[in-house]
């Protein structure tokens, strides 16, 4: 651990893992042809309370975007809005420039795949059965199960490394395997954009890595992935792009190495922290050191130092 060095908070950490970096317009040219999703003054509400307020964000195509922020900041709500689970209260979500609400839900299902937290499976459902559900948007009364569907299911099982478990009922799998099966379902849907709501919550770190490595390999194959994540260090490690949210607004966005500062951590969580650099991958590592005296962006003097808590 002696290789770990505190990064200065004002200057962004200079090292970003090259294979993940959005650096210097690298993403702009090779994104041709990918579907693009962005929001315009998007407001989302549960009942009367607005949860996401007038948000303008764009998902970088073929990159992994992580949405982070404290509980109740509107992360999952934003994801729900992007995935048309919630109707915008104001503004709009634009898929390739068209309002998402004006596109048929079936057509959207061929572009955007979604794994919400509320996913449940009936008893006895096997992994392969579950993954086959992902082909639903490609089927209809006239277009029944085809060779392409079967190939997509096998490819998704491959991507999730689930071939040996394909005929096992879901309830007999470990948490990580089950989560991989759900992601495989979304992968079989074969959409350009994939949205995962806290795919690693309640998993131990081994299972978390299984899931996140899978996410990376999907992005490497040209998918645009959006994740809601709780853990900042994990988000920094696996995302190319970060949206940090507080009270329904995005307070910072960009490459993790550029935006992850102890001031941001204090703003988001009211926690003092030291930002280190991952000795292997060069990504920011957030070490919480204690509660901030008063939450919010206070004086910058204590950045990167141990504030001693309280």
């Amino acid at each position: 651990m002696n290789a770990v060095t505190p990064a200065t908070a004002t200057a962004p950490a200079p090292v970003a893992a090259p294979e993940f970096g959005l650096g210097a317009g690298a993403g702009a040219e090779d994104a041709g042809g990918a579907h693009r999703l962005r929001t315009e003054a998007l407001t989302l509400a549960h009942g009367r309370t607005p949860v996401v307020r007038e948000l303008d964000v764009e998902l970088p195509p073929r990159r992994v975007t992580a949405i982070v922020g404290p509980n109740g900041c509107g992360k999952s709500t934003l994801l729900g809005g992007l995935a048309r689970l919630l109707e915008p209260r104001g503004g709009s979500v634009l898929l390739d420039g068209r309002a998402l609400s004006s596109v048929s839900t079936r057509e959207v299902a061929r572009v955007i795949g979604l794994l919400p937290q509320s996913a449940t499976a009936p008893d006895g459902l096997t992994v392969r059965d579950l993954v086959r559900y992902g082909r639903r948007p490609h089927q209809g009364l006239l277009r029944q199960w085809s060779r392409a569907d079967a190939e997509a299911v096998e490819a998704a099982l491959d991507a999730a490394d689930l071939h040996e478990l394909a005929d096992r009922p879901l309830e007999t799998l470990s948490g990580g395997q089950r989560q991989r099966a759900w992601i495989a379902m979304a992968v079989a849907q074969d959409t350009d954009i994939l949205m995962l709501d806290e795919p690693t919550s309640a998993l131990d770190i081994g299972h978390q890595l299984e899931v996140l490595e899978m996410v990376r390999s999907l992005a490497a194959r040209g998918r645009t992935v959006v994740l809601v994540l709780h853990d900042l260090t994990t988000a920094c490690r696996y995302a190319d792009h970060m949206l940090a949210m507080l009270d329904g607004r995005v307070v910072a966005q960009g490459a993790p190495a550029q935006i992850m500062t102890s001031a941001l951590v204090r703003t988001l969580y009211g926690v003092e922290s030291t930002i280190l650099t991952d000795p292997v991958h060069g990504t920011p590592v957030v070490c919480p050191t204690g509660l901030a005296a008063s939450p919010g962006p206070a004086a910058d003097g204590a950045n990167g130092t141990d504030s001693g808590g309280s």
Binding site: T120, L125, L130, R136, Q189
Partner: protein, 334 residues
């Protein structure tokens, strides 16, 4: 489970059972025509035996056809309602859907309508009302977490509607003989006319169930996942409830309230072919008739020369299954 396995484990054995029970239904009865005479009629060798010909062709054959139609409708309705409520105990009879249907028919009769022509439509409306009330009760806070509560709400509703039917029975003595039929299910004396009157309703209900089954099975993964897969959960549920109302309404119009079939059939079908709704429906549409016919055949034999009403018989079969399901350490989640 592959298509071949579904065939081997589900459709083939259930078809064989159904054929056997159909044969038994034509051969066995409470009256004097025994299996030998009945078999002679079926094989075309009993031209002189007018008594046997009448019994087999005019009584048992239509009755068998009615039982097959009712069983198919109730089996499929049970599977669809369980998937819609996501509750393995959601059964049209237990939830008051059948009670709503029969009350509507009783009301129509008291108001002067003919049971054969108006009955099916009144029954469908009553079934729809019962369905919506039961599912509405299930959506109340907390009830969704506990499958048994839905059944309690249904029992309360059934009791209320049953009491209302009894009141009508007391008030209107003239119609009471006709009404009494609707308080306990039976296929006795039901003929081709009765069946033809409800057949369009039942076929429409089966078609709706088949059409909605892929989308409805996606709802088992959660509403958000289903939306992500391109379905509209509210619309899917509306079609599912409509199909249940058509099936239970049609079945009740021709046979009165027959409980427990919608519980037992999907339960057994799930054990045979697993949780996939489309395979469940395929098996239920054959297993339902087998169960209802079996109950009907037994009801003719246990108290010969009298008959026990079919609804009593299915309750004798079904109630132990309900108790077993509730007592099993853990209800299967749908």
């Amino acid at each position: 489970m592959t298509l071949r396995k579904t065939l081997l484990r589900g459709l083939l054995p259930v078809s064989a059972v159904l054929l056997a029970v159909v044969a038994a239904s034509l051969l066995l009865g409470a009256g004097d025509v025994g299996p030998a005479r009945a078999a002679a009629v079926l094989l075309g060798g009993a031209d002189g035996d007018a008594d046997a010909r009448f019994t087999v062709l005019e009584l048992r054959l239509p009755r068998t056809a009615v039982a097959v139609a009712v069983g198919a409708a109730l089996g499929v309705a049970g599977a669809v309602l369980q998937a819609t409520a996501r509750n393995p105990l959601a059964e049209p009879g237990l939830l008051g859907v059948s009670a709503g249907a029969s009350f509507a028919v009783v009301l129509a009769i008291v108001l002067g309508a003919s049971a054969t022509t108006v009955g099916p439509y009144a029954a469908v409306l009553g079934a729809a009302a019962g369905c919506l009330l039961a599912l509405g009760a299930a959506r109340l806070r907390g009830a969704g977490d506990d499958p048994v509560r839905l059944v309690l709400a249904g029992a309360a509703f059934s009791g209320m509607v049953g009491a209302a039917s009894s009141v009508l029975l007391l008030v209107n003595q003239r119609a009471s003989d006709e009404i009494r039929f609707w308080t306990v299910g039976s296929v006795v004396g039901r003929g081709t006319d009765d069946l033809m009157a409800v057949l369009p309703v039942l076929l429409l209900g089966l078609a709706a169930a088949a059409a909605v089954s892929p989308a409805l099975s996606s709802l088992a993964l959660g509403d958000d996942v289903a939306t992500g897969l391109g379905h509209r959960p509210r619309r899917v549920r509306a079609v599912a409830v409509t199909s249940v109302a058509l099936l239970v309404g049609g079945a009740t119009a021709v046979a009165g309230p027959v409980a427990f079939v919608g519980l037992v059939v999907p339960f057994a079908a799930r054990a045979l072919v697993g949780p996939d709704l489309r395979r469940l429906l395929g098996v239920s549409v054959l297993l339902g008739p087998a169960v209802v016919l079996l109950a009907d055949v037994v009801s003719r034999l246990v108290v010969r020369p009298y008959e026990m009403p079919l609804g009593v018989m299915t309750a004798l079969f079904g109630a132990p299954v309900l108790v077993a399901v509730v007592r099993s350490s853990r209800l299967p989640s749908l």
